[in-house]
């Protein structure tokens, strides 16, 4: 029973991590159709923002939850104004530009921080379940990812900004003809996606050591989850994370982490083969 509980927590933690890592990309790619190959680097910058804040004496909770989304959100705003806004609707050019941006970010981070691993102290201690030790922070990550998902849903569904963003993504020309400043909507939406990526990086900073090249380990999972989820940004990410997180973590427990990653990838390949438009291309149509 205790072991089952531990396994259950780890499976849900894997799902929660996938949701956190993918949410920002779900906004930027899922809603805006911008292929942002620098998404992993946005997460890494969030981790570094948390690290710098902690090293400067900022409370660790503020350092991981408040500083990263603000910092990376602002960076995202600059990136959108300087680069991305000229490339909307041009997928190949966006891929090239964001890939170049990712290389630039990795280079800058390496120059500033070197290639040694940085980290943030674990703010929560573990607890025991039977004969097993569980991570209190993992439980926090689970709760926080649900909270973040809920907050983004409320923002998109019930606020005027969310309505304008959803309308603009469906038909920008018509939204503009109705008085919506679509350039501002695009900028704010991209910044939101970047902020969410930064937040994920901050939240995961105590769990995983950060090096400038850490982004590579996140980008694959994020794109697989968003693509597997389909058109509906939030429902898609949640349903895909449920599937891939469960399969990946179950395989990890049954074998080892390497096969766990392979199993996740295989699940994604099978899913796309069966549902080429992702889960929400067939199910949960009309959901957010």
């Amino acid at each position: 029973m205790a072991y089952a509980t531990i396994v259950g927590i780890e499976v849900v933690y894997a799902i929660a991590t996938l949701i956190l890592v993918s949410l920002g990309l779900a906004i930027i790619f899922g809603m805006m159709r911008v292929i942002n190959l620098a998404h992993g680097e946005f997460l890494v910058m969030g981790g570094y923002a948390a690290t710098i804040a902690v090293h400067h004496g900022v409370n660790v909770w503020i350092a991981i939850l408040i500083v990263p989304p603000i910092a990376v959100g602002l960076i995202g705003l600059v990136v959108e104004r300087a680069v991305i806004r000229f490339l909307y609707g041009r997928m190949v050019e966006t891929m090239l530009a964001s890939w170049g941006l990712s290389l630039l970010i990795v280079g800058l981070l390496t120059t500033i921080f070197g290639s040694s691993t940085e980290g943030v102290p674990m703010p929560l201690s573990g607890f025991t379940i039977g004969a097993y030790q569980a991570s209190g922070y993992n439980v926090f990550v689970i709760a926080f990812s649900l909270l973040t998902l809920g907050a983004v849903y409320v923002l998109l569904r019930f606020t005027r900004l969310g309505l304008l963003a959803r309308g603009t993504m469906q038909n920008a020309a018509m939204a503009a003809a109705l008085g919506v400043d679509t350039t501002k909507v695009y900028a704010v939406t991209f910044a939101l996606g970047a902020a969410l990526a930064g937040l994920a990086g901050g939240v995961l900073a105590p769990v995983a050591g950060i090096v400038p090249t850490s982004g590579g380990s996140y980008i694959g999972q994020a794109f697989i989850t968003v693509l597997g989820g389909g058109a509906a940004a939030l429902t898609g990410v949640t349903s895909a994370a449920l599937l891939f997180g469960s399969v990946g973590q179950a395989a990890t427990f049954a074998t080892n982490p390497v096969f766990g990653s392979v199993a996740l990838l295989l699940a994604a390949v099978v899913l796309i083969r069966i549902l080429p438009n992702g889960i929400t291309g067939r199910y949960f149509k009309g959901w957010l």
């Binding site: 018509m174 003809a177 109705l178």
Partner: protein
């Protein structure tokens, strides 16, 4: 004059479509625009709302030059647009589509504005939770019109509002526009192929041929057979 168009030029890339369009619309005036397919009717409206850049000429709205203004600024200045094909946001509900049309001007709240519009469009009032993409063509046309009116425009541009619409809804649209035109002094430009619709709604009709205005007629003259020969293909 609410709208002054002076020697307007616009096109798609290197292909000129509007070759010096000039006309004016008075405050509260209803003007119809007739023309064959491909003569530039839709291009004209798209240029007026800012979806197509001008390559020459001047455009003044309420005395202010707007030819270089982006689309959203022209809408906020008071130009409403009901495009050909309706352009409903398909994944948004009817109520959310209406909310998209609301422009905060400090005069009335969003809820108050939408409630006023709901009173004018009882057919839509029963469909508020339905997705825009799930409506019939006629219902979408009513929604597109209602959405544009949520912005409280001073000038409303309509591009072929009767295309593919059942007669009962066409009558409903005519009646709504007449009421707004009469009681709220709403200026209207309507581009149409339906001579009957244009005749019922417009105070004067402009004929657009090869990107320029070639004639101005009164609605009664649309019954003239020789004029209809000129407009061969229109209204059939």
């Amino acid at each position: 004059m609410i709208l002054e168009i002076d020697d307007l030029h616009a096109g798609y890339g290197r292909i000129p479509i509007l070759n010096g369009v000039s006309f004016g619309v008075g405050e509260g005036e209803a003007v119809g625009i007739l023309g064959h397919n491909g003569m530039g009717k839709t291009t004209l409206l798209r240029a007026l709302v800012g979806q197509l850049p001008l390559t020459g000429g001047h455009l003044r709205f309420a005395g202010k030059e707007i030819g270089r203004d982006p689309s959203h600024r022209r809408a906020r200045a008071g130009i409403g647009y009901v495009p050909q094909g309706r352009a409903i946001f398909p994944a948004l509900s009817v109520y959310e589509n209406l909310r998209m049309g609301y422009i905060p001007r400090g005069e009335e709240s969003e809820e108050g504005t939408i409630n006023d519009i709901r009173a004018i469009f009882p057919r839509l009032d029963k469909l508020l939770d339905r997705a825009g993409g799930a409506l019939s063509g006629g219902e979408q046309q009513l929604l597109s019109l209602a959405r544009a009116l949520c912005g409280k425009p001073k000038l409303l541009l309509l591009d072929e509002p009767t295309e593919g619409i059942q007669p009962s809804i066409i009558e409903e649209i005519i009646e709504i526009l007449r009421q707004l035109h009469r009681f709220q002094n709403l200026a209207i430009i309507v581009v149409e192929q339906s001579l009957d619709f244009i005749a019922q709604l417009s105070e004067r009709v402009l004929l657009l041929q090869k990107g320029t205005i070639t004639r101005e007629v009164s609605p009664k003259q649309l019954a003239n057979a020789s004029l209809l020969d000129d407009l061969a293909g229109v209204g059939e």
